[in-house]
Symmetry: C2
Subunit: 231 residues, 2 copies
DNA sequence: ATACTTATTGTAGAATTTACACCATACCGT
DNA sequence: ACGGTATGGTGTAAATTCTACAATAAGTAT
């Protein structure tokens, strides 16, 4: 085999850290591997990139095949390429994270693995390959990003209460002290792209909260004026 | 050819955006391609990743072969993998940027290209492949990163004046208004990891400025206390 | 000595951030 | 219907940080 040929004995994949927010906690969607290597282990959903497929497209495809969702938030984070990260050959993987609204989809593990389900982030451990490292990178990126871009809204249903929104930020940021309720509301409302609906929360055993929604158009206008989201 | 084999008909490379600061301006180190494709065009220094080489190692190697420098700041930025980005086959490339002190090295283009030299950032245009896009990404990353980590110091010689430091930040950030001199000094000095030397600037036709240096150890101590660099 | 160039320094007003506690309103049991 | 319980909703004062701004100092060049 010529030297140049040996360069082409490698493959690349995408792996996707899919975040969701449920029961006041950050969750991620994992698959259970149905084949060697790491058979039976939980892993990030991912796949080899097709020869004529762009990287972003591959990441979108993985997400869509698993959840049926399209057009969700997706961001490339980092590429992992240690020589021995994959037991079967040289495979480098491009890590993405995506943010989905839990409940708006059905999970279809068939195309990937024997099963797939949401895991509380706090209960995730010992994933296949170098996926723990990948998860750490994506989580770190998410934590930084939610403070400078209104990504939090991607994880919530279209209508939500301010308490839910704060709970999300408390959960994602995982700060030693929770955010102050009054200050949080003041700041987020002062940004001007939350719209109050007439509706109230239902089915709770206490005073129901007002529902708000995120106005993407208004947010876009702020952007044009050089506005910087900063929580 | 089996399907699985077709996945392994691809290669990956690293490309390195090497930033330097010279004559009050941000510069980048480019090579001029000696072979097709894009023969004669200026391009980012890069190379295919060896079969048994980690990505970071490959990026370090490219930098060292070109400049002789080791241990400089290097950060992975993004991976580019459009299907047709390389005329000769499917090659995805992992982009890095590095920060070097101009003047502390000699450039050796031999291993890569017919020539290599520093270019003022403002004069760079029409690079080979998708390298303009890669440069844009790295520049954007640098702009964000210099505000939240003391990266600027990687671009300056060990001893520098506060004016040089500010000039660097003005140049990198490229804001509509320059930073205010008094406020900049106040803020950077209040951080506590700049150490004033007894020496003065030499060879200038005006009042010489005090020289300062960046105390990496002190900065590390701040980090342990949860300090956040924020310009 | 005079002109020239860059270095160095402080303050007051504005804006932002932080800390903090009580009443309101719904549901639920009884 | 009434009291208990749980979360929703709201303002202010003090501290801190940010911003704008200009005059003198210390060298070199002529």
């Amino acid at each position: 085999m010529s030297e140049i040929e040996s360069f082409f004995k490698s493959a690349f994949s995408v792996d996707n850290v899919i975040f969701g927010f449920d029961e006041g906690e950050l969750n991620i969607l994992l698959i259970q591997r149905g084949a060697a290597p790491y058979k039976g282990k939980w892993a990030l959903p991912g796949d080899l990139v097709y020869p004529n497929e762009d990287l972003d497209t591959a990441a979108e495809r993985v997400l869509e095949q698993l959840t049926g969702l399209r057009g969700v938030y997706l961001e490339q984070v980092k590429t992992f390429g240690s020589v021995n990260r994959h037991p079967l050959g040289r495979v480098i993987t491009v890590a993405y994270f995506s943010l989905v609204k839990v409940g708006k989809h059905t999970i279809n593990p068939a195309s990937f693995a024997q099963s797939a389900r949401w895991h509380k982030l706090s209960e995730v451990k010992d994933l296949a390959f170098d996926h723990n490292e990948i998860l750490d990178s994506c989580l770190k990126r998410l934590k930084r990003k939610v403070r400078t871009a209104p990504l939090g809204f991607e994880l919530l249903p279209p209508k939500f209460t301010l308490s839910e929104l704060q709970q999300l930020y408390d959960s994602v940021l995982d700060l030693p002290k929770k955010l102050d309720k009054r200050n949080f509301r003041k700041k987020i409302l002062s940004m001007g792209f939350l719209v109050e609906s007439a509706e109230l929360q239902e089915g709770v055993a206490h005073r129901p909260a007002k529902l708000y929604s995120f106005d993407r158009v208004k947010y876009g206008q702020f952007l044009n004026e050089g506005y910087v989201f900063d929580l």
